[in-house]
């Protein structure tokens, strides 16, 4: 079985296989397969639309961590004409679960920071499955402060199951590293635009997620805990992750209703992994616009607006 195809994607994959076969067998043949191909292509499109119109929160959670989903460096490759990765927290180590550096998007200089997952087993281990250790967050903060000194906007791409729960991470102050980023990002004197591209897992995501604009790709998720984690606590079984995903309201559509995010970036039919280039173009267009808008603001206004935005987060009754 192909590990890269989700259960609900199977009908799509089957049609794609058929189409591929048909195209292959039409090669060099005098027979005209054109109408057959067109018919199948239409059917594929129809099926994909049908499936993607009715995705459950759990299915979206699976798409957000799809093995073929584009990662931070994939997007950087598409949106930047230049990117220079910069390493290390200047104190302990370089954490490959977070990448960052200087880049140019349409000629515009930016600091880009994002979680990075690995594609194959070796890379997955090297990237620690996108779970940063404190030095990753400290590297991110170092680069953000550099952006501030050189008046460059900060662009962050969020894609992590969460911060790494390990012995060394605790010893080196995982909590402090996250907390400090939250505090510092709230007062960074340059525009900060954050986009969830895959999994927005908890504090480990938020630690590079405090900004003037927070966007989500259409099939990304953002939550206080993984569905599995929530299920194992509240339902006492990780098997109930499906229920937890529904209950937590972790999809972009639910979160924008509550005013918790600013914009949803549409993904091409079938999800970002079916067309990373178009997804990247959508991302680029939105964030460039947002940066331009934010750069018009006086720094004090920018910071006041950011504080007010954070200040307004929460729902409670006031008697």
């Amino acid at each position: 079985m192909n590990q890269n195809i989700l259960e609900f994607e199977k009908p799509i994959a089957e049609l794609e296989d058929k189409l591929r076969e048909l195209r292959a067998s039409s090669q060099g043949q005098s027979l005209d397969f054109e109408s057959e191909i067109r018919k199948l292509d239409g059917k594929l499109r129809e099926k994909t639309v049908e499936i993607f119109q009715n995705l459950s929160a759990w299915q979206i959670a699976q798409l957000a961590r799809h093995p073929l989903r584009p990662y931070t460096l994939d997007y950087i490759g598409h949106i930047c004409e230049e990117f220079h990765e910069l390493a290390g927290d200047r104190a302990f180590a370089d954490d490959a679960a977070i990448v960052g550096g200087l880049g140019r998007i349409d000629g515009k200089g930016v600091v880009i920071i994002g979680h990075q997952k690995g594609r194959d087993t070796r890379q997955k281990i090297r990237r620690n499955f996108g779970m940063p250790r404190p030095e990753g967050y400290r590297k991110a903060l170092r680069l953000m402060h550099m952006a501030e000194r050189f008046r460059l906007p900060v662009l962050t791409l969020i894609d992590t199951p969460g911060a790494y729960p390990g012995v060394g991470a605790e010893e080196r102050g995982q909590s402090e590293a996250i907390a400090r980023n939250l505090l510092e990002m709230s007062k960074l004197r340059v525009p900060v635009v954050c986009t969830v591209i895959g999994e927005g897992g908890s504090g480990g995501a938020l630690a590079i997620g405090v900004g003037d604009r927070v966007n989500m790709l259409q099939f990304s998720t953002y939550s206080v805990i993984t569905p599995e984690g929530c299920a194992s606590i509240l339902w006492r079984s990780a098997e109930r992750a499906r229920d937890a995903a529904e209950a937590m309201g972790l999809t972009a559509a639910r979160l924008i209703e509550h005013g918790l995010i600013d914009r949803i970036i549409p993904e091409p039919l079938g999800g970002a992994h079916r067309d990373p280039k178009t997804t990247a173009e959508n991302l680029k267009a939105l964030v460039l616009g947002q940066i331009a808008e934010l750069e018009k603001l006086d720094t004090d206004v920018l910071l006041t607006q950011r504080y007010e935005k954070l200040r307004g987060m929460g729902q409670y009754q006031a008697a």
Partner: protein, 317 residues
């Protein structure tokens, strides 16, 4: 699942983080009833008059203790100095000058924005927690005086859904920080929390950002924030406001960390070192400035704050 308290004097970990695979800033409360010493549940009610309630057992050394004596000792065992849980309101009462303390954000009450339901409805869990604790949510915020100095002080009520931080907790903390800012006074927070409150979804995660942003303003105004971490302080609370003190204080042997030991054990598949994630461990690794015995808390914090606020030292007591 949560174990009952150990008798060795070292605490076993009882946060949610033990229960689930990687990563969460959230917490459970199904295990809460096991966590809660029975004493707390009987305190303050009519049951106080029941003679059996007059005696309790130290969770550290197992000594049988006379309840009024334990209360006078701020729930610290007079025999072995083990720090047992103390109610938020009681803590603040002991900490502030007698007769001072005006509540901040008392009018706020939790809402169920997501209409969250697991095995129980969030609404029902809230009602049960409110009934059990007499609090409307898991943070009590006051402004009052500490040895004559104006101060804002808050404390997490751990017995309210494991002290988890939802919108009301975040808002009260932020209001306390803003009160301190507006009146030029320091802020103290006693944390005891499993982390963010899952039932409020991303709203609760955002409280981490909100409270941290409020602390950034306090910091820029040159007003001290003293964070006292008590047992246990984990998840989203530890990864936001609790670690952001100008001075970070730990209570003896308090469990403080991002993830809980059991999650870490499952992740790394090795036994954790002795004393891992205790206050003493955090001092050794540079995350906590000092450990203060609860009985000296008032004096010690007053001394520290007076220096930071450039005020003369106040007399002990």
């Amino acid at each position: 699942m949560a174990r009952s308290s150990s008798h060795s004097g070292t605490r076993k970990l009882e946060t949610d983080h033990d229960l689930h695979p990687p990563i969460s800033d959230a917490d459970p409360m199904s295990w809460l009833s096991k966590l809660m010493p029975k004493r707390i549940r009987t305190q303050g009610g009519d049951k106080r008059k029941v003679p059996e309630g007059l005696w309790g057992k130290c969770e550290g050394c197992g000594a049988v203790l006379y309840q009024p004596e334990l209360e006078a000792n701020q729930q610290v065992c007079p025999k072995c100095s083990f720090h047992m849980p103390i109610l938020a309101r009681e803590r603040l009462k002991q900490f502030l000058d007698e007769g001072t303390g005006t509540e901040i954000g008392a009018e706020l009450a939790p809402a169920d924005a997501l209409k969250f339901k697991d095995s129980k409805k969030y609404k029902d869990r809230l009602v049960a927690a409110q009934k059990q604790t007499g609090e409307s949510d898991a943070l009590v915020a006051l402004h009052g005086r500490l040895k004559g100095m104006p101060i804002a002080a808050c404390a997490f009520e751990f017995s309210f859904m494991a002290g988890s931080m939802g919108s009301v907790v975040g808002e009260r903390f932020t209001l306390a920080a803003e009160h301190a800012l507006a009146h030029g006074m320091p802020l103290v927070c006693f944390s005891a929390s499993g982390g963010a409150r899952m039932q409020e979804g991303l709203f609760s995660l955002m409280q981490m950002a909100k409270t941290s942003a409020a602390l950034a303003r306090l910091r820029e105004a040159g007003l001290p924030f003293i964070s006292v971490m008590t047992h246990p302080t984990t998840g989203g609370v530890s990864a936001s406001l609790a670690m952001l003190g100008d001075i970070n204080v730990g209570e003896p042997q308090a469990l403080i960390g991002f993830a809980g030991p059991r999650v870490i054990e499952q992740t790394v598949r090795e036994t954790l070192p002795e004393g891992f994630q205790r206050s003493e461990f955090l001092v050794e690794h540079g995350a906590v400035d000092l450990i203060v015995d609860r009985r000296q808390m008032r004096d010690k914090l007053a001394d520290l704050i007076a220096i930071l606020m450039r005020r003369p030292r106040a007399a002990a007591g």
